[in-house]
Structure formats: C-alpha cells, structure tokens
C-alpha cells in the first residue's frame, strides 16, 4: 500500500529518454558515414526490424528501471524508514535502540544514532535523577496525604473548581459503588474517577449554593468556612455532604485577590446518613409514643380517679371508673415494656463504635494482658467469624484492669480468653483457674474507677459495659475449678462488615489522585480546539462473535481504560463480558478465548451499554481500527437508546499519519515499534491497555508534525483514511 516515490518514476523516465536519444544519435552517426546505396540496403534490412529495436530499447529500459528500483530502495527507501525510526527514538521517553540494517553506511549510521541516543538517555537519566531527588520530598508529602486519605474511615473527594475529581479514597469508592444504579457493572467506576465530574452524582446547583455560602463566609473573614447539605441519591440513599474550600497558594503580587482566585477547588466529605437518620426517626417515634400515648392514658386515669373521689358515687359507676383505671394502667405497662424492648433492639448507644473482627480483639487483649500482667494468656474457642461493634480501646482497658486485679489480689497464674456468638451478641470470657471471689468483691471491681499503676481512668468497668449496651457478670464452673468474667458485646451489622472486608481485600495503594488537575481551569472551550495532551480519553476495545455486525455478529466483551492528564489510570478500568444472545462461532474462540459458558448469565448488551456510556462520559473515545468497534456500538443505538456522540480517534489511522512508510499498522506491529509490552492480547481490556500505551506515545509524535489539537488530529486521520482508500 506504500506510495511510489515520484522521484523514482522520474528517474526511470529520464533513463528511457536518454537511452532512446543515445540510440538515435548512434544511428544518425552511423547513417551519416554510409553512401546512398548502403543506406538503401541498411534501410531495407532495418525497416522490418524496427520492432526488434524498440523491444531492445524496452528491455534495456526494464533492466535500468529494475536496477534503479533496487538502488532506490537501498539508498532512498531504507534511509527513509530509518529516519522514521530515528524520529521514534528522538521522541521516545524510555531508552530505545535501532536495529542496524541495510548497507554498511546505513548500519554505521544506525549505530552512530544509537550512540547519540544512549548519550541522550544517560543525560536524561542524570537529569531525571536530579529532578527525582528534588521532587522526592514533594512526592512523599503527596503520598503521605494520599495514604492518609486512603486509610480514612470517611469518604473524601477533592475536586477542582469545575467539579472535576482530583482525588478520592477507597471509602469514597465503596460509597459510590453503593450509589451506582443497577447491578453495579463497573463497580461505581462510571461515577467516580480521576478527572470525572462530581456533578454526575450531585446536582450542580446544590454544590453551587454550598460554594456560595463558603464564599460569603470567606468574605466575612470566617477562619475555616465550610458548608454542608443533605441530599438523596438516585438509589434513595441519604448523603450528608460537607464542603470545604481548597485555597490556592497565590504567587506574591499576583494582583488583586478575588474570591474566585483564592479558591482553587473544594473538598467533599461524604457520610451516608441513611441508617442514622432512620435510627433517629425510630428514636423520635419511640419518644413520641411515650409522650403522647402516655398523656392520653394519664388523662383517662386522672379523670377517672377524680370521679372516684366523689363520695356520692353509686357502686355501679364506681366499678366502671375503677375499670378504666385498671385498663389504662395495664395498657401503659404494656406500652412501656414494648418500648423498652424496641429501644434496646434498635437504638445502639451513641458512643462511636468501630467494627472489629472478634479474633483481632481477642489477640490484642492477649498481647496486652500478657505484657501488662506478666502472666501467660491463652486463646481458646475463638469464633473467627464474629464481627463485633466495640470501642476497642476502653474494652481492652477493662479486660486488662480485671486481669490486673486477679493477678494482684488472687495471685492468678494464667488466664484464658474465649469468644463465642449467641445470636445477636457475642460473649467474651476472661477465664482463670483456682480461687473464686465473693460477689461483693466482683461488685467493687466493677464499680471502682479503673487504675493502671498511677494512672486513673474516669471510667469504671460498668461504664465500659454500658457504653457497649452490653452486660458483664461473674460465673463459676465448679466442675472445672474455673471461674470467668463474661462480657456480652454487640455484633456488628452485616453492612459494616462487608465494607470492612472489602477494604482489606482491595489493595489500597492509590492511583487515586492527580493534583495537576488543579491547574486545569475552565473546560468551557470546545473539545476540538483543546490540546491532545490535555484531553481525557476512554481507550476501549471490543471482542465480538465475528467480523460482520450487520450479519448478526455481536459484542461479547468490552474493555476500556481511562487516560486523564496524560496518565493511564489502570485502577479505573472497565471490563465486562456480554451475553450476545447467540452462539459464539467455534472458529472465533481461539482468537478471543471466550466460550458460551463464560458469557452465560452475563448481562445483555442493553444493560451494559448504558453503564459503559456513563463510563465514557466527557471523554474522547480512542480505539484501534475504531470504525469497526463504533459500528457495533452504533448498531445498538436504536435498541438501547444509547448513542455515543463523543469524538473518536483511531490509533491505526494516526499511526499511519506518523509513520507513512511502515508496512504494517497492526496493533502488534505498532506495539513492537514503540516497545510496548503486550499483555493479555485479545482480551478486550488487554488490547485496550496496549492501545492506550500506544496512544500516549503517538501524542508527542503528532505534535512534532504540528498536530496539537483534537481538530487537527481528526483532520489528519481523515486525510490518511482517504489516502489509504485510494491505494
């Protein structure tokens, strides 16, 4: 498909002309030496053989053209290809070498270029080392902040002034996962992600109002202005959102400080208050029941008692009023019993409790008691599946304090901890052998404020137990000569446990932030005129049952990754198998490795596309041979109502723009040219990631050719597209 160099054509034509002229010249010279008779004879001999002469000329021309072509390839084509490869080396950000090929001179040149590149790389390495050194402390601070955020138990999202997300933590991601509509196909990644707009989750007006209040606060000179609001999400959850401004570090003399210029972004702290609001409502309801319900009953009783006070009451009436009193007293008794029951069931104590794995608590208690009391502590019958809702600090204090007194006053030599579940509670036992104490002693231990050496805690063991809404008592096991203190502790609700488990399984090292987005101001200008390096991209790939979308072939897998601010966000990927609603041809299985079994029970395209659409929001689509994938998406437009109107870029076409002289623009070939490691080729996500890496390397090469904006890239791609069509 390569273009034929016009210079080659010109050279061949010129040689033909020269050969023809030479023939004519020779003929004329020979002709001029002949006398008229000889001329006649030669004319007779040659006239029928003109064709032969012409053939001879043509043959000669072919020989010359062939030689020229070989020479051209060797001395013009090869240098050209070498030039393109040198350009790659010039823009390469990682060390890259040329493979010497062609003539001895070319090979020598390639080696020389390699040496230059090596020198450059070394210089660059030195410089990078210096820069790394310099930015090390900055980076460390960033990391510290990110790590802190990641471990925070509260959801934190940091946005720039336009509402683009710069940073979020693990907790926020979990919360958004719960907020996501539907079956959570992308695990909330379509809602939260670096560079995404927070307005996909919250009404813009709501945040605008909060920011306005903050501005007002700042104008009044409030030291730390913040605002908060409560909002409901699509899923009906209640979120309390606290908003605090991020102040820009102003350069000195940067002109007048307007409020807008002072605030460079905002921090959102999110709390899902659905549960606590429900609890609050339940508490209100109980209180209400107690006051108004009791008031009516009391009124009935009081009126009846007042009537009973009349001395002239006839016996029948007296009996009726007594009946009222008995009735109402009974009703009030029942109401209060009922309330008390519901109150203990529903209303957890207000003290902030943490979810903790029971086994962790037991192990912590074991270490602490062993260290403080200098006695061996063993664990026995610990139910590892229990999650407790405890204030572990005071609980450990209470256990240690009791153990201390056992050791000090009864010379207990070793202790044991047990943990078992009993329905709604867990029982944690502190067990010892030997002497049992009197109930009075136990009582005094329970009610004394706890002491550790010279330190005195304001709390008693009883306080700690009540803080947990639990109970604690002393029991003997005569048969085993053992005695124990038993703590009844509340179990954690299932929801909390799931959260905590998730937090552990997902590795929390974040690519969750990109503070450089602070600098990106208004994105108001149309995408077309914005530089390629600034845009956000969704690089995607699909696997399909075949190559013919119109003939019934369908998507079976979509994989996508996001590029924001020139960085590939590997943690915000989209990967989804799709049930195509038809069989997968056996011939295609070796290509993508997806079988009928694998897609059985997966969502259909109608469920997947809306989520994928949300995932791609506000980004430019990038794919290799994008026309193919887009065709599959467009065919679903009618059925799903999901249309992809974003601009689309094709790495195949753009590679041809950058490297018109390379033979192949297949994904593997380009990846090899750019030294991109190919992992998981022919899974949708694997290919999408390779395409993304390629795209990141194409951007600087396009810039070298003067292609800076999205519009320019699209125009260039279109030109090569037509160019390729022509040949």
């Amino acid at each position: 498909m390569r273009k034929i160099d016009p210079r080659l054509v010109l050279a061949v034509a010129a040689s033909g002309l020269v050969m023809a002229l030479w023939l004519v010249l020779m003929s004329v010279i020979v002709w001029s030496t002949l006398d008229p008779q000889e001329r006649l004879a030669v004319g007779d001999v040659l006239a029928p053989r003109t064709v032969l002469v012409a053939m001879g000329w043509l043959l000669g021309l072919f020989l010359v053209a062939g030689t020229l072509h070989v020479l051209h390839r060797r001395y013009v084509g090869d240098p050209h290809r070498l030039l393109e490869k040198i350009r790659v080396v010039v823009t390469a950000t990682t060390p890259q070498q040329l493979t010497p090929r062609g003539t001895a001179e070319m090979q020598a040149m390639a080696r020389a270029v390699n040496e230059l590149a090596a020198q450059r790389d070394q210089l660059r390495g030195d410089m990078a080392a210096q820069v790394a050194q310099a930015s090390y402390s900055v980076q460390q601070e960033k990391n510290r902040l990110a790590a802190l955020m990641a471990e925070l138990n509260q959801s934190v999202v940091v946005c720039n002034r336009d509402g683009r997300i710069l940073l979020y933590n693990q907790r926020a991601r979990q919360q958004f996962r719960q907020l996501a509509q539907g079956p959570g196909l992308a695990a909330g990644a379509e809602l939260i992600g670096i560079g995404r707009s927070i307005y996909a989750v919250f009404d813009q007006q709501l945040l605008a109002h909060a920011l306005e209040r903050i501005h007002q606060g700042m104008a009044r000179g409030v030291a730390s202005p913040s605002a908060q609001f409560v909002t409901t999400t699509q899923g009906g959850q209640l979120l309390r959102v606290q908003v605090a401004p991020v102040r820009a570090a102003l350069a000195e003399g940067a002109g007048e400080e307007t409020l807008e210029s002072v605030v460079s972004g905002f921090v959102l702290m999110l709390d899902n208050v659905t549960a606590s609001v429900e609890e609050e409502a339940a508490r209100d309801q109980l209180l209400h029941g107690l006051t108004e319900g009791s008031r009516a009953s009391l009124a009935n009783i009081q009126a009846a008692v007042d009537m009973l006070g009349y001395s002239d009451l006839e016996p029948a009436m007296r009996e009726r009023f007594l009946g009222v009193v008995r009735d109402e007293v009974g009703a009030m008794g029942r109401r209060i019993t009922d309330l008390a029951q519901r109150a203990t069931q529903r209303l957890k104590t207000r003290w902030p409790m943490e979810d903790m794995l029971g086994a962790d608590l037991a192990a912590a208690a074991q270490r602490r008691i062993a260290a403080q009391c200098d006695r061996p502590v063993s664990l026995d019958a610990i139910d590892g599946s229990l999650w407790l809702k405890v204030d572990s600090y005071t609980l450990l204090q209470a256990l240690t304090y009791l153990a201390h007194r056992l050791v000090d006053e009864f010379d207990v030599r070793f202790l044991q901890l047990r943990l078992q579940g009993t329905g709604t509670h867990a029982q944690l036992d502190l067990v010892w052998s030997g002497q049992a104490m009197s109930n009075e002693t136990v009582m005094s231990w329970e009610m004394d404020s706890m002491r550790f050496g010279n330190e005195r805690s304001p709390l008693t063991v009883r306080d700690v137990v009540e803080r947990h809404g639990g109970e604690m008592w002393f029991e003997r096991e005569r048969v085993r000569h053992q005695a124990f203190f038993r703590f009844m502790l509340p179990l954690a609700s299932v929801q909390g446990v799931v959260d905590a488990a998730l937090g552990e399984s997902e590795y929390s090292r974040p690519e969750y932030y990109d503070f450089d987005l602070f600098k990106q101001a208004d994105q108001g200008s149309a995408l077309d005129d914005r530089p390629l390096s600034e845009l956000a991209y969704t690089v995607f790939d699909t696997e399909t049952t075949g190559l013919n979308p119109a003939g019934g072939d369908a998507i079976i897998q979509i994989g996508a990754a996001r590029i924001v601010n020139g960085k590939l966000l590997r943690q915000e990927c989209f990967e989804q198998l799709v049930d195509p609603g038809r069989g997968i041809p056996a011939a295609s299985i070796p290509i993508h490795g997806i079988t009928d079994d694998m897609v059985a029970g997966k969502p259909r395209i109608g469920e997947v596309l809306p989520v994928f659409h949300a995932f791609t929001q506000d980004t430019v689509l990038v794919a290799h041979n994008a026309a193919f994938d887009m065709r599959f998406l467009q065919l679903q437009e009618k059925a799903t109502g999901v249309a992809f109107h974003q601009p689309v870029l094709d790495t195949l076409l753009l590679s041809a723009v950058v490297h018109p002289n390379q033979e192949s623009h297949r994904l593997e070939a380009i990846a090899e040219r750019f030294n991109v490691t190919v992992l998981g080729r022919h899974t949708a996500l694997g290919d999408a990631l390779v395409t993304a890496e390629i795209w990141l390397r194409l951007i600087p090469l396009l810039q070298e050719q003067g292609i800076h904006t999205l519009r320019q890239a699209r125009e260039a791609a279109q030109k090569t597209y037509y160019a390729r069509l022509k040949y």
Binding site: I301, A304, M317
Partner: protein, 125 residues
C-alpha cells in the same frame, strides 16, 4: 338554662369520666366518637360548647374546628380542645384555627370544669 355540651373523643375511657363529670355539673351532655360524627352533631344540636379531641378517626379535631369556624350559623359555638399533643406548635395551631381554649392531657377535672364555666360565661359553683 341548661347548656348543651358535646364531648368529641374516640377513647371511651375518657368519655365515661367526662360525661359523668359534666352531667354532675348540670349540663346536657352529647357524645361523638369521631370527627365526622362530631361535625354532624354540632350542626344538628348546636351545642354551646364542644370538648374536642385532636386525634380522632375520619376527621381530626383541627379539621372539625376549622369547619365549625367556617360555618356562619355556628359562630356561637365555643370550642375547648383537649389533646395529648402538647407541643407549643400544636397549641398555636389549635388557637389559630379558632379554638377558644386548649388543654393538654392529662388535666385536672376541676380546672376543666372551671374552664368550661368560664367559656360559657357562668360563675363556677
């Protein structure tokens, strides 16, 4: 002259006592068990005073009160609201809707009798 008093309350346990108390004080006593019945009785019997509970089936005391005050023919009817709703806002609402007085449960029967007499412009016995 004997005043007619309507007791509108859905709880029989209070109605027994109030009925006995007011009859003893010499009033003619009518009883209604819900809001609609109360309205009908007021229109038919035109009592001088209504002891009106707020929480009643069909129509709440507030609605009854509003309906009575909207009716020109019933302007003379005194309304004494008796209710377990003790919040300030509830009292304010009752008074705003046209109640003449508001008593929160529980109350002393002596005070009630005094209040009734006061509203009917009598000197208590």
């Amino acid at each position: 002259m004997t005043h007619k008093i309507l007791i509108a309350d859905d709880e029989p346990n209070i109605v027994i006592s109030l009925e006995y108390l007011l009859q003893r004080e010499g009033y003619a006593v009518l009883v209604a068990r819900d809001g609609q019945e109360a309205l009908d009785t007021i229109a038919r019997e035109q009592p001088a005073l209504v002891l009106l509970d707020v929480m009643m089936p069909h129509k709440t005391g507030f609605e009854v009160c509003q309906a009575v005050r909207a009716d020109e023919a019933l302007q003379g009817t005194k309304i004494l609201m008796l209710t377990a709703k003790g919040r300030e806002t509830d009292v304010a609402k009752g008074m705003a809707l046209g109640a003449n007085a508001y008593m929160t449960k529980p109350f002393s029967t002596r005070e009630l009798v005094q209040k009734v007499a006061e509203l009917l412009g009598e000197t208590p016995a």
